[in-house]
């Protein structure tokens, strides 16, 4: 059961990472990157590293997304 969960998480991670590189809309790319960070945090927790998971959830899904959104609001939205 846990292995199916891990395979699902890793598949979602790879799909997100490839989609971030291919998508043209920058705001969508930032949101996809936040989803990537959230899944990465769950994976860290599954790998028995709750400390890193907490930092990843706060930095990756929180602050980085906010800074990217501010940057996009200062510049153009399309690539």
């Amino acid at each position: 059961m846990a292995e199916i969960f891990h395979v699902l998480l890793l598949t979602f991670l790879i799909v997100c990472a490839v989609a971030v590189a291919y998508i043209r809309d920058l705001l969508s790319a930032v949101i996809l990157f936040a989803a990537y960070s959230l899944v990465m945090a769950i994976i860290w927790q599954q790998l028995d590293a709750p400390d890193i998971a907490m930092a990843e959830a706060a930095i990756g899904a929180g602050v980085t997304t906010l800074l990217f959104v501010v940057t996009i609001s200062k510049t153009r939205r399309q690539e």
Binding site: P50, M54, A58, V63
Partner: protein, 141 residues
């Protein structure tokens, strides 16, 4: 952004986020997390408020000058705590019990780890807020 749902949810949620951040910082020596993770959560709550409700109001909660002052002062606290153990004839930041340690798992244990974690938490929270305000207002520092 003038979205009513977003503003209301942010104003309801902000105290809980901050209490969680303070909890993570205070329990840095007992549970997962610590100064870095808790400080980021604290800083992110202020940034969330600035982005959804009002930048000026968030600036009023935690002014930029105070953030820069706290940022420098907490580094000073870190270094001074390290120097205390240097004064006692040990290496820099050697853990000397300054709390009377009652038992394992209670809050006032762990010697220097809790004050150092508090300093790191204040530093990281201020740094995150300063980063956001400088990026948002394009200040020349």
């Amino acid at each position: 952004m003038n979205d009513f749902v977003l503003q209301t949810v942010t104003q309801i949620l902000m105290p809980f986020i901050q209490v969680y951040g303070i909890f993570v910082v205070l329990n840095g020596h007992l549970s997962p997390g610590g100064g870095f993770a808790g400080g980021t959560i604290l800083g992110a709550s202020i940034i969330l408020y600035a982005l959804t409700v009002d930048v000026k109001a968030a600036e009023g909660i935690y002014p930029d000058e105070r953030a820069e002052m706290v940022e420098s002062a907490s580094v000073l606290v870190f270094v001074l705590l390290g120097l205390i153990s240097l004064m006692m004839g040990r290496n820099f930041l050697t853990n000397i019990g300054i709390f009377p340690s009652p038992e394992t798992g209670t809050l006032l244990t762990g010697g220097f780890i809790m004050p150092v974690t508090l300093a790191i938490g204040a530093k990281v929270a201020s740094t995150v807020i300063t980063l956001f305000t400088h990026l948002f207002e394009e200040k020349k520092s």
